[in-house]
Symmetry: C2
Subunit: 655 residues, 2 copies
């Protein structure tokens, strides 16, 4: 008996009992199909639960440790900083310092702009770049992610909140609802992590996310036309048709040429900086520093020329000082509680999807491990704490994380550095932003969100999978032409439709023998494969469950019908054996066994023998338990298709 590694979850007991194996190899070339040893029911159940919720085996390091050590490991697993902090040194700090300063210079102007996307006052953007990154630095396990407000979540939150409360009429209620939503976004994230339901975010397909992000980027960029063109009256809708109508209807007397000059000039500058950074990877700091330079230059320019008197819209006074408490602002009762909860769940899930994707990307790049569920707890805690300190929903920003990584960060300390810079900004220099023109913020946002449009990814999706492409485009057009919510709904629906398709319509294929081998392969893929006269070999490519059992039965009968029709037309001998290759059938349930029984019954009426090849461990066990093996006969179950054919072929009667 071969060795079985000791720590494989579902099958730990396997090594213990060899007597129960029912393996006999009587003929020298034929191994019989083995039935795996019966497992203890409770053990089987816990193994299944473990594989589902603890697939990454998070408690592994606790094994065989004394209690005191367990306690320390426990604390360290909640606050990873305690672990990596011990190996922290000056070299690492140098890297983190530079990276932190770079992302701070990038985030400060972005924060002010993104707060506007969420219909909040500018300081709330800055607040959100102070507390949450600090919390994350202590609890998070990603070394490269840069935490703070991001464009898509700001837009989504703004759109969802605006449906409930008008931010212009009831700014206080609006802000309170925003904190409520942030609170529940955090709670949602913590809960998903705590109950190990992190896999739920995997249900949003990559393609749908790409489309959604690109659509959101276009929508955000369009929204910035307001600031860039100096338009005063602007639609609240986010779809492209309403926005373009708003833009064109104001072309004669709503646009402000001074604003346009400032905005377009600096937009050109920012895009040029971006281009330079892209061309020469060593100059990555050029686009990173460009937004802050633009802000300083344009603010100085407006202040000197007093352009605000010529209708150039400026940011205005930003509240000075560190985050005030917002504990009492959260709605814990009333109708807004439910609304805040709903919005929070949606925003929290999307924020998670983005953050986890970023964390995973950089972890793969630098080859370290990310624990998805632990990460969720960190992100959730950071949002809960944020909601109590006047922050709105934050997550990982892809562009800033990339800059962080390229600037040479080593650990999450770069987030702490950024946080400190934002603190200093809040305490000291917010008044200086008074004369910053809105047009500059618009330019910065436009140049930032353009990075969310990933044309290469879309091209690849088109090349690889057309159905994914439809999902991608559906989400994209949903966002651009209708609204963010509809786009999101389309993305989720298409993702689910794909899953449902996968489980209801599994593939089946007819196999043929490759010449001069004992290998049987799909005859549509291998045109050289030949059929065995009198035998039809069908492979089923999925577990047989209630959701597809009827389809599989009917599909196999249709393969048979087609084959029989062809043979009849060509006067060839009729089919006498139907071999079902079960290798890919990993599991079967009661409905599946009923379907097989039905298939057996139908075949018997046509005088055809049902033969099974290579049923897996779970399947053979259930076929035995349900007595199906006796129904068709133990001798009809073979280890390989080749064995089955070798045994069946000589018995074929010549017509």
């Amino acid at each position: 008996m071969s060795r079985v590694s000791g720590d494989v979850g579902a099958q730990e007991t396997v090594t213990t009992d060899t007597a129960s194996f029912q393996c006999h190899s009587e003929a020298p070339y034929i191994h019989k199909v083995c039935i795996p040893p019966k497992q203890n029911l409770l053990h089987e159940f816990t193994a299944r639960v473990k594989e589902t919720f603890f697939a990454d085996d998070p408690l592994r390091q606790f094994k065989d440790q004394p209690w005191s050590r367990k306690f320390i490991i426990g604390i360290q697993s909640v606050f990873p900083i305690l672990e990596w902090g011990r190996h922290y040194n000056l070299t690492k700090f140098k890297g983190d310092l530079i990276a932190g300063l770079t992302i701070a210079s990038l985030c400060i102007p972005q924060d002010i702009g993104y707060a506007k996307l969420a219909n909040l006052a500018p300081q709330y953007g800055l607040y959100s770049s102070f507390v949450p990154p600090l919390v994350y630095a202590f609890m998070g396990s990603s070394r490269d992610i840069a935490i703070g407000p991001v464009a898509v979540i700001s837009l989504l939150l703004g759109a969802l909140l605006q449906d409930e409360i008008d931010p212009d009429i009831h700014p206080l209620e609006y802000r309170r609802l925003a904190f409520t939503a942030t609170f529940f976004a955090g709670i949602t994230q913590v809960m998903l992590g705590f109950f190990r339901l992190g896999f739920l975010i995997d249900f949003l397909s990559h393609a749908a996310v790409v489309g959604f992000m690109a659509g959101a980027a276009i929508t955000i960029a369009l929204q910035q036309l307001k600031g860039l063109l100096g338009i005063k009256k602007f639609t609240k809708n986010t779809d492209i048709v309403s926005v373009m109508q708003s833009v064109w209807s104001t072309v004669n007397h709503g646009w402000n040429w001074q604003t346009i000059v400032i905005g377009v000039t600096f937009l050109a500058f920012l895009l040029l900086a971006k281009y330079i950074g892209k061309k020469n990877r060593k100059l990555f700091w050029v686009p990173a520093i460009a937004p802050l330079i633009s802000v300083i230059l344009s603010t100085f320019f407006v202040y000197i020329t007093r352009a605000d008197k010529h209708n150039v819209a400026i940011v205005g006074k930003i509240e000075k000082g560190v985050n005030p408490s917002s504990v009492k602002e959260i709605f814990f009762t009333g109708t807004y509680l439910a609304k805040g909860f709903k919005i929070g769940v949606v925003a929290g899930m999307i924020a998670l999807t983005e953050a986890i994707a970023i964390a995973r990307t950089f972890a793969t790049l630098k080859d370290y491990q990310i624990d998805g569920n632990k990460e969720m707890i960190a992100l959730g805690t950071m949002n809960v704490v944020g909601s109590l300190t006047s922050c709105y929903v934050t997550t990982g920003s892809f562009s800033r994380s990339a800059v962080n990584c390229m600037s040479g960060c080593y650990t999450a300390v770069s987030n702490i550095v950024m946080s400190c810079v934002v603190l200093l900004t809040l305490e000291l220099i917010t008044p200086l932003f008074k004369y910053t023109p809105n047009a500059i913020l618009a330019s910065i946002i436009i140049s930032a969100v353009l990075g969310l449009i990933d044309i290469e990814a879309v091209k690849l999706i088109w090349k690889i999978d057309k159905f994914d492409f439809v999902a991608c485009m559906g989400a994209f057009f949903g966002v651009v032409f209708v609204s963010v919510e509809i786009g999101l709904l389309i993305a989720v629906s298409i993702s689910f439709a794909k899953i449902l398709l996968q489980v209801t319509r599994p593939r089946t294929s007819v196999l043929g023998k490759l010449p001069r081998t004992t290998v049987y392969r799909n005859i549509l893929q291998y045109p050289g494969a030949t059929k065995v006269p009198g035998v039809l070999i069908v492979r089923v490519d999925s577990a047989i469950y209630f959701s597809n059992s009827n389809y599989i039965r009917e599909r196999i009968m249709r393969w048979l019908g087609d084959e029989e029709e062809y043979l009849k037309e060509n006067n060839q001998p009729r089919i006498q054996y139907l071999i079902v290759e079960m290798s890919p059938v990993t599991d079967i349930d009661t409905s599946g066994i009923h379907a097989l029984e039905g298939l057996h019954g139908s075949l018997q009426k046509r005088d055809i023998q049902l033969v099974l090849a290579n049923p897996g461990p779970a399947v053979i066990e259930k076929l035995h338990a349900s007595n199906f093996t006796n129904l068709i006969g133990e001798d009809k179950i073979f280890l390989t298709v080749s064995d089955a054919v070798v045994t069946c072929a000589p018995k074929i009667e010549q017509a």
Copy 2:
């Protein structure tokens, strides 16, 4: 090149182009993995749609037919009676007549009782056994199904309607809502059939249905204690706790001994008849005729003794005459429209599940074909017409269908016969039911619903699949201890949870070589299988999609980690090749390819080569399109695991 049968949907074009096949077999024993010929995009798309929605190829018979013939086939496919009616003869009619009379005798007392379950007056039960079976006989394709009101749907409809309107206070509105729900149940069924969404009902797992039915049977039986014990004041709740409280609290002065004597006597008679029918299959007509005999005897007895004066509750006057029109009673506006719609959708889906299961069972038994989607249109039409003629939701009754089949029915004419008998009953003899004691109806319902409790099926589910058993018990206890709606919700949720589990946590296994073969199998199933030193072979048992791609990547890395740890402890040579057996991987999407790229990257860092064995047609095509084959090298992709091992093993460096 082998022959490909001409009518296989997704792959029709395969035979046309052999030049594009990239198959070379240079080494004599190694076939290369083939890339299937590129398919026209539109063709691929239509093939996919066809396989999803038209898996049964319903338009096949229309092919290559002149227009006039197509028209006739079209009419016949809507009204199958036009086809089978042409071969109808006297022998068949004799069988159908006897079967029809038998099921009529069974359905009349049941109808009156079931109408009460739905909180409707008795005549509505009879109405529902007149029009719908007639409509079905013309449009349906099942030969054995017996149409009419059934216990579970009556209970479900009653419970759902009662939540909206109290039938005692507003009987008219209640009835109108019942017709509205019936109308939308029919519309739902027609739509599901028309848009070929019939597979949606497959999402209710067999196990959940078994549990739900058993729970509903217990609930219905408990409800009948009211009639059986002659209790006047009875709870409206259906859970076992409320009902038993109701029963015990009335034990001293609420029970009526005369009623109990009548009820229990006839219940014993009915159960005895059932037992006789079960013991001797030839006496199947005994239990079929027993209910009518009970009704006649007990009615006569009550009439003679005027037991109704001794507080024996009787049915009372039943409206005489044929179904009145209810077109104007349906709510087409107002708040009840939405409520009726919601209830209708739920009741319609459950009714479909039951009818299709019955139709399929008997079709398999007698070996004829049922077109699920066409069947749905027939059932839906029958309910829409029913809702306009004072009927409530009807479907196929399992017990009556079984009797129908055993009585020797040949075609749906037995439904017409039954329908005519019910018509005569409505026109002539309803007044005779006035003195029928309610206790008899209770006895009849109890003896009927006991058949819904399928202990054998539950035992089998327990033996085969523990997860299915949990689903079954969840639905059962939900119905019995809470309510029908909650039980249904549990059944649906557990079914979906199972599907989600299936797609997020596919199985993976480590393979080993069976001695003296070139066959590689799961080492946990085949303890004789041995590992190849320096090589780890992992099989992935599912399509790699966004929902599981991360899990699969992490799981493979965990297999590798476990293996490496073991090898290190035992001072064995390290792993140098990781072979992923892709046979069961039927498809891959962009997320899946990203996961493979990530896997390749991680392996490279550990100086391990990634090798793929036997990728299927869809997979190899996408691996090529995404350039992944070039990334790992074309020479790393093999036709079989055996080929891969033969090529890799000699290259392994000895540590």
